[in-house]
Amino acid sequence: MIELENIVKTFSDGGENSVEALKNVSVSINDGDIYGIIGFSGAGKSTLVRCINLLEKPSSGTVKIDGIDITELKPKELREERKKIGMIFQHFNLMPSRTVIENIILPLKHSGLSKEEIYGRARYLLGLVELSDKENAYPAELSGGQKQRVAIARALANNPKILLSDEATSALDPQTTDSILKLLKKLNSKLNITIVVITHEMDVIKQICNKVAVMDQGEVVETGDVFDIFANPQEKLTKDFIKTTSNLYKLEDILSDNPDGISIQADDVVARLTYLKKDVSEPIISTVTKKFDLNLNILLADVEIVSGAPIGGTVVIFSGDPKNIEGAIKYLKDKSVRVDIINFDKETDKNE
């Protein structure tokens, strides 16, 4: 359990200029969570994650790990605590003069283990990140994804309870990002390690997190289960982030790019249907078509699995009797489907 309470962090240049990087932030992270913290650069997310292992010391507020306020610890106690918190970075931060295995054993220098045990542990970790054949390579000989795997193995050396990931996939290409995220997810379930993921990409949150906090200008503006946030975002910033990952929101672009490609009659209604419940087993579109005697033309559909449940929806054109369309929309809302009518002439969204 990680509890950040009323964290304020002010950076000062010693003179009159000071920047409030974190303004009274409180976040609580449960054991076993993969907790995502998302925000644009400068939102304070990297500073916040560095408060968890006190690489940044908060100006005020408490950082409790399993009930112990680590801001009160003596330097030596803090170092012991840090061994229980692994960390990986955007630029990997591997020691260039050390081989892969020497990098992994670096945190184990004063662990009290024998040399055989240390190397055994390092080789086990190398196997876990699927890099056993690179034991004696130098970091410069590895690809970005391999470097991050070594960094993950190094972060796990002391068998930590918590793994902090600071933009760990931001310097990697999409396929490599995917494989690193899968690895993190595997480690989370296999080792039951709590993972805190800092990112500016909603895709990362969608792929592996179960909880998310959205940060903006030093404040947490929205938190919750990833599914709920995706199904029902409250803040504009959250909605903006979700838009970056869903095809449903590309409709406006498609319509404005291809005004002649889609024919829509005067009485037709274009709407975005979003599933709000974790259950879409019922064939809603089909039911509506029959029940209200309408034609539903699916323009776009995008359903993904988020936190183990399908989320997403479709963009459809309702054509038929306006009264029946109204009835159909009401029926859908009763079935916990959110209906956003898209009035693309004015290019604005009206939340019905």
């Binding site: 690489l55 030596k76 840090r82 061994k83 970075f89 931060n93 020691m95 003069s97 670096l106």
Partner: protein, 227 residues
Amino acid sequence: MNNSFAELAPNLSDKWADFIQAIIDTFIMELWAGAIVFIIGFIFGIILTVTRSGGILENKYIYKVLDIITNLFRSIPFIILLTALMPLSRLLMGTAIYIRGAIVPLVFGAVPFFTRQVQSALAQTSDGLIEAATAMGLSPFDIIIRVYLRESIGPLARATTITAISLLGLTAMAGVVGAGGLGDFAIRYGHDRNMTDITWATVIVLVIVVSVFQFAGDKVAKKNSHD
């Protein structure tokens, strides 16, 4: 052979024993002063690195004092240091002349230079590595040994090479306080008595020594580079 050598460099063959003694004197100065400079400059360079603003043992007072002292002694020309430090030499070494008298000014002349060299070598270690090491729970001492120094072997080897060569230049000047050595030998005979062959011989010896230093330094630097 001996005859042709005597024809080619008559003065040098005449002063051969002095020439060998000058080489030995230069080496003694280089080694003694070099060893002391290496240790003190290393420690000062590390202290400046870790106490700087944002360093792992940030301490602006220690940093400021050491920074000012380093700048002060770097800006004094060596020829002035040689004479100005005579009282201190007498106090520490018992004499202000001969090789013993040259060690103190050589150390004062080279330590600030080497300190800056060490500082800039260590500054090449990226902040990310230090951050990663801190996050691992390594102590400041471990970070100095296992990260700063370990990751800087190449740049430190180059810094040592440059300093050793620059120190060799300083020992040549030490002849002013009667320390002897190659510089003094070249001035006394090569210049003052217009014995050109002695000047040339001195220069050749110095070129060889500098080349050996440079070769060894490059070798160490290359062996420890994995970029």
